[in-house]
């Protein structure tokens, strides 16, 4: 990779970066909409999501309950109670508009249906899994920000140098690695070969440890999945921070600072970096939504981490459609909401975007 001209590479990346990669990982591309439309756009998006979730099972070939239960384990499929519960939930004997409104009403009460595989309300499953996913997302984003931003500042400051070339090469390659593969490599090296961290799970099963021991247990299970996600997200942070740094280098205030004989470190961190990092702030929000949606699904499965992503994987494997839909709705709403908030945050942080 070192053979590839690093600066040329990264400059193109800086342009294509967000636009190119964002749609792949489930994030709205950053843009500034007119103020009036922002809340409205958010409302429409949420409504579209809810409607997709309503119409999907009804658009499936045949009776949705047949389709749903036919693929479930045979014991479940022949369970009359299960069938009646499903029929009642979907209310398929009633006209469509009525179904739609009772669906919305059910959602408002937090009714997400019953899991075919677990035989429990989907809401309870989600409530159990969500904290794990949030923990994983926060830890990996924190890690990505620390690593990506610091190396981005260094690389951008000495643009075209040896460190810059190496870092750009590493992070460009990393962008091409699928999260499940990187996770599997990490599991193989650090859990199996070296034995530094546990291979799977969120904590030791059936452990009754308390206090510090429990925190340490959860933390040691968190390291590998969070690091896997963190490294992948750091690539984006790095390229953004680096591009920001590069574009600030030639700014007038930098020239003035130099002319005044200002300390280089102060110029680097308090001046250039401070301005360069604005886009990084929004990227953090984007990353949170990315981890909360795409990457988590893969990485959690690799490490058998007990979050939403694993639940999605399992419900696809066992064709547990109500659970799958519940996960879809929960993840989508989180993603859309965080994107909406990040849009607003950007306007507050950067006075130049206020008009």
């Amino acid at each position: 990779m070192a053979a590839v001209r690093a600066t040329a590479l990264s400059d193109t990346w800086a342009v294509t970066d967000v636009v190119a990669v964002a749609p792949a990982i489930g994030v709205a591309v950053r843009r500034r909409r007119p103020r009036l439309g922002r809340l409205g756009g958010y409302a429409v998006t949420v409504w579209v999501l809810l409607s997709i979730n309503f119409f999907l099972p009804r658009a499936m070939p045949g009776d949705p309950i047949e389709a749903m239960l036919a693929s479930a384990p045979s014991t479940t499929a022949s369970d009359r109670q299960q069938r009646e519960a499903a029929a009642r939930y979907y209310g398929l004997d009633r006209p469509l508009p009525q179904q739609y409104f009772s669906y919305l009403g059910g959602l408002a009460r937090g009714d997400l249906g019953f899991s075919i595989r677990y035989g429990r309300p989907v809401r309870d499953l989600l409530a159990e899994r969500l904290p794990w996913t949030l923990l994983l997302a926060l830890a990996s984003v924190a890690m990505a920000t620390a690593v990506g931003v610091m190396s981005g500042i260094q690389a951008g400051w000495r643009r075209g140098g040896r460190v810059d070339a190496i870092l750009v090469g590493i992070f460009t390659v990393l962008r091409g690695v699928p999260p499940f593969f990187l996770g599997s490599v990490a599991a193989f090296l650090f859990a199996v070969k070296l034995g530094w961290f546990p291979l799977a799970g969120g904590r030791v099963a059936f452990a009754d440890d308390r206090g510090f021991a429990r925190v340490a247990d959860i933390a040691s299970h968190l390291v590998l999945p969070a690091a896997t996600l963190g490294v992948l997200l750091a690539a984006g942070q790095f390229l953004t921070a680096r591009a920001g740094m590069v574009s600030e280098l030639g700014a007038d205030y930098m020239l003035l600072g130099r002319a005044k004989g200002m300390d280089e470190r102060r110029l680097k961190y308090a001046y250039a970096a401070r301005n360069a990092l604005l886009p990084v702030v929004t990227l953090i929000a984007i990353d949170l939504t990315v981890t909360a949606s795409a990457a988590v699904i893969f990485v959690e499965q690799i490490f058998a981490y007990p979050g939403i992503g694993r639940l999605i994987f399992d419900s696809v494997t066992f064709r547990d459609y109500p659970t799958l839909q519940g996960c879809f709705l929960a993840l989508s709403l989180i993603v859309v909401t965080l994107n909406f908030l990040a849009d607003g945050l950007y306007g507050r942080l950067d006075p130049r975007t206020r008009t």
């Binding site: 190119a20 699928p178 696809v316 989508s332």
Partner: protein, 284 residues
């Protein structure tokens, strides 16, 4: 050695290798990837270059045939999304007014939907045939292209050579054919190339979750089967089951990315459009 420093050369080599593998898959693969051609979990040997999986299917053959599945789905999905997006974007930009506003609102909403969870839930419920995968990849790709092409059309319409052509009485279709299309082509091509690696990611991710064409074999599916295999990490199995498929995905994404980067600097629309009128007139 200038070629060694060019992203296009490296990317082109990788893409060329993949395309060749995909084209000649039936000749390169020693076995039917679905056939049970050996014992379960054989180590690599001359008969099975990468050993066999849990039920005795040849892993090397799966890798080779997987190339074809991945490329077909990713390239077709990206191409369909690019064409649809470009047509809608150009139409919106040319029509203007209410049609334009409406189209851009739709683009906004589709862009705001979280792509992967959406694609995943639809693929799971509709059933992941090859056609469905292609449609889903194009579904999440078109809005970006539409927005980009619309912006280009809007700015091109204001440019001297287009205004002049219209002033001389060129019809709308004439302007599109002789002036807009040549100017838009580089933008559309480089957008397509950026989308192929993203589509590969998508295809691999869905297959990893278990959502791939039931009649085919693909890299993500190999990883799915490997990861679900209980003893994966406790033998050397990992090295020939997970590593080749994972590296193949990485290499494919990287190869197409490099080609995209290399071509983008060459086809850079800004360089072309900026020097636009003069060049275009001389060419015409």
């Amino acid at each position: 050695m200038k070629a060694l420093r060019s992203p296009l050369a490296w990317g082109g080599a990788v893409v060329g290798l993949l395309v060749t593998t995909a084209l000649f898959a039936p000749l390169l693969a020693p076995y039917d990837p679905h056939a049970i051609s050996g014992e379960s979990l054989e180590e690599p040997s001359l008969h099975h270059l990468l050993g066999t999986n849990g039920i005795g299917q040849d892993l090397f053959s799966q890798l080779v045939w997987g190339t074809r599945s991945v490329l077909v789905v990713a390239v077709a999905g990206a191409a369909l999304g690019t064409v649809v997006g470009a047509l809608l974007g150009a139409a919106a930009g040319l029509a203007g007014g209410f049609v334009d506003t409406l189209a851009m609102r739709v683009v906004d909403v589709v862009l705001a939907l979280p792509a992967l969870p959406l694609v995943l839930v639809i693929a799971a419920m509709v059933g992941p045939s090859r056609a469905v995968l292609v449609l889903l990849i194009s579904l999440v790709g078109w809005p970006v292209v539409a927005r980009l092409v619309r912006g280009q059309v809007l700015s091109l319409r204001q440019r001297g050579f287009v205004v002049l052509a219209r002033g001389f009485g060129a019809g709308r279709w004439d302007v599109v054919r002789r002036h807009l299309l040549p100017a838009l082509a580089p933008v559309i091509i480089s957008r397509f190339l950026v989308w192929v690696p993203a589509a590969i990611f998508f295809e691999a991710g869905l297959a990893f979750v278990g959502l791939s064409d039931p009649g085919g074999t693909t890299w993500g599916l190999m990883l799915n089967e490997a990861v679900r295999f209980q003893g994966l990490y406790f033998t050397r199995l990992w090295v020939w089951w997970v590593l080749p498929a994972g590296l193949a995905i990485t290499l494919a994404v990287l190869g197409f990315t490099l080609v995209g980067i290399g071509l983008e600097t060459r086809l850079n629309p800004r360089a072309r459009v900026a020097s636009g009128p003069g060049r275009q007139v001389r060419r015409g």
